[in-house]
């Protein structure tokens, strides 16, 4: 099993000073597997998924998992643009996350003191109270997040910009860009920007070469352009396997097909059909890929399927499905886990600022159940008496009539 710390997730950005990258991160992930798109394919209804994910969905129920529109695997088309974005984002991600985390540690809760950029930095959400808003922003829809993307990128630039602090000297490259109104002046020899009083000291030892400070940041750029020019996604020439009309094939003919394909042909007819479907999905998604795997690798994946879902899968023990499942015993056996879960679930309900907390709750309610039935008068009266803080488990089971005055204010 993968360790949880190795799993990357859009929420990785939330505790950093760059929480607005969470929706960007999320928009580059497949909604089915929640990982970054692998061989992204676009459906007839213009939704994008990993090739294997969407092929599996379509072969199981013939509908787009996002909008339930009917579609067919043969209509899928590659989405190269997304693939390029994903690949470059994946390359940049660890570095950006690392910088963001380091910045967060340095910041240590105090306002960042970067001359001339302080205001912008605060806009990023450096203040703690912005964290909640940022988290909400992270849940915005993708179209909304497009706006966020733009601002997140500009913020990103601001942060890279501020790396060098007072001694920071953008090199000659800076000449290509509009010069920032940061109160710095360029060195007449090498063009690096610095405080006015630092120029004279600098000129004495200036060798005409831009300072090395930017080398780290600069090294990223060539890599990105290289990956774009050296390795544009290329269609491979592997032909797709056709779907079979199983009802037209007798067992013998079906098994013959399996021999031709080089996949195992044992098992019941039902199993053969499931195995063939899986193989077609694996094979065709590999054919979609710009970096296809070997046939041997695909057979290994089919074998993994065989052992987890196919003919060699262990007998299922969906314990709670059993008729004689003893919920009470289960509850007792897992008491400490449930106690912990209750603490966690309650924790999230207590929002530090009362006003904000209420705002969030209504927003969530509206989101979850737009057609909430109106409560009866009796219900309303009762629920208003219930408006008490959630901080502790109630010690008394009956709390009717508690704190009406306090809570309704």
């Amino acid at each position: 099993m993968d360790s949880i710390s190795e799993v990357s997730d859009p929420t990785d950005w939330l505790p950093t000073p760059l929480p607005l990258l969470a929706p960007v991160d999320s928009a580059l992930r497949c909604q089915v597997c929640k990982d970054f798109y692998e061989t992204p394919m676009i459906t007839s209804c213009s939704h994008t998924f990993c090739s294997l994910c969407i092929r599996k969905c379509l072969s199981s129920d013939g509908r787009c998992p996002a909008c339930r529109e009917q579609d067919q695997a043969s209509k899928l088309r590659r989405n190269w643009a997304i693939q390029e974005v994903v690949e470059s984002f994946k390359t940049a991600r660890p570095q950006v996350l690392d910088v963001a985390k380091r910045r967060e540690n340095e910041e240590d809760g105090s306002p960042v003191q970067i001359k001339g950029r302080k205001r912008k930095w605060q806009d990023v959400g450096g203040e703690r109270e912005d964290a909640e808003g940022a988290r909400k922003a992270a849940r915005q829809t993708r179209s909304q997040s497009r706006k966020a993307t733009t601002s997140a990128i500009s913020q990103d630039i601001v942060i890279l910009d501020s790396e060098g602090d007072d001694d920071y000297d953008p090199s000659g490259e800076a000449e290509d860009y509009p010069q920032p109104g940061d109160g710095l002046v360029p060195c007449p020899v090498c063009g690096a920007r610095m405080k006015e009083e630092a120029v004279w000291l600098h000129i004495e030892r200036c060798d005409g070469n831009p300072p090395k400070k930017l080398s780290e940041a600069r090294s990223i750029t060539p890599q990105i352009s290289a990956s774009r020019h050296n390795r544009p996604p290329q269609p491979n020439l592997i032909p797709r396997l056709p779907q079979l009309n199983y009802s037209l094939l007798k067992d013998g003919a079906l098994k013959k097909k399996f021999d031709d394909l080089g996949i195992p042909n044992w098992g019941s007819r039902e199993l053969l059909i499931r195995r063939h479907t899986e193989w077609v999905n694996l094979y065709n998604s590999n054919a979609d890929s710009s970096t296809p795997k070997s046939n041997r690798e695909l057979l290994r994946e089919l074998d993994l399927w065989e052992r987890s879902q196919g003919g060699r899968a262990p007998a299922r023990d969906a314990l709670s499905k059993k008729k004689d499942f003893d919920g009470k015993a289960w509850m007792e056996g897992n008491k400490s886990q449930f106690d912990e879960l209750i603490r966690e679930a309650r924790k999230k309900r207590q929002v530090p600022s009362k006003k904000e907390g209420q705002k969030e709750e209504t927003a969530n309610d509206a989101e979850r159940s737009p057609n909430m039935p109106s409560a009866l008068p009796g219900q309303l009266a009762l629920s208003s008496t219930k408006k008490m803080p959630m901080f502790a488990m109630p010690s008394e089971p009956i709390r009717d009539g508690d704190g009406i005055e306090d809570s309704t204010q």
Binding site: M1, D35, S320, G327, N334, L341, R349
Partner: protein, 151 residues
């Protein structure tokens, strides 16, 4: 064995840890990522308010193409929950989508609490009371809420 289902469940777990929806929590049992325990706190301003309802979720290797099997193990009184704790919820049956994750399932169940569907009752008595005698319905629900604190 790192299968699609197990990798996805690790992601679901990470999400539940780092940004859980309000009033729900869930984690896999110690030795098996395919079985999860979950808690839903009854939503405020509903008869279920403050209840600590416990659930078990069972996933199989078909997840997320197949819905998990979800059931309450706390005693419930709700039109769409059977006596066995099993749920009658469309998104766990014919309206399932592979885009749902643990967080989405739990928020759906949470909103089902105060928004029952009386078209397909799983508990006829709860459904009738909900439609015809709200006061009694409310009382019965509060009993389960109080019971949930003692579990």
């Amino acid at each position: 064995m790192s299968t699609t289902a197990r990798r996805r469940l690790m992601r679901d777990f990470k999400r539940m840890q780092s940004d859980p929806p309000a009033g729900v929590s869930a984690s896999p049992v110690a030795d098996n990522v395919m079985t999860w325990n979950a808690v839903i706190i009854g939503p405020a301003d509903t008869p279920f308010e403050d209840g600590t309802f416990r659930l078990v979720m069972n996933f199989d290797e078909g997840y997320p193409n197949k819905a998990p099997q979800v059931r309450f193990i706390s005693q419930m009184f709700h039109p769409n929950v059977y006596n066995t704790g099993e749920l009658c919820l469309d998104i766990l049956q014919n309206r399932w989508s592979p885009t749902y994750d643990v967080a989405a399932i739990l928020t759906s169940v949470q909103s089902l609490l105060n928004d029952p569907n009386t078209q397909s009752p799983a508990n006829a008595e709860a459904s009738t009371l909900y439609k015809e005698n709200k006061r009694e319905y409310h009382k019965r629900v509060r009993e389960t809420v109080e019971k949930s604190w003692e579990d």
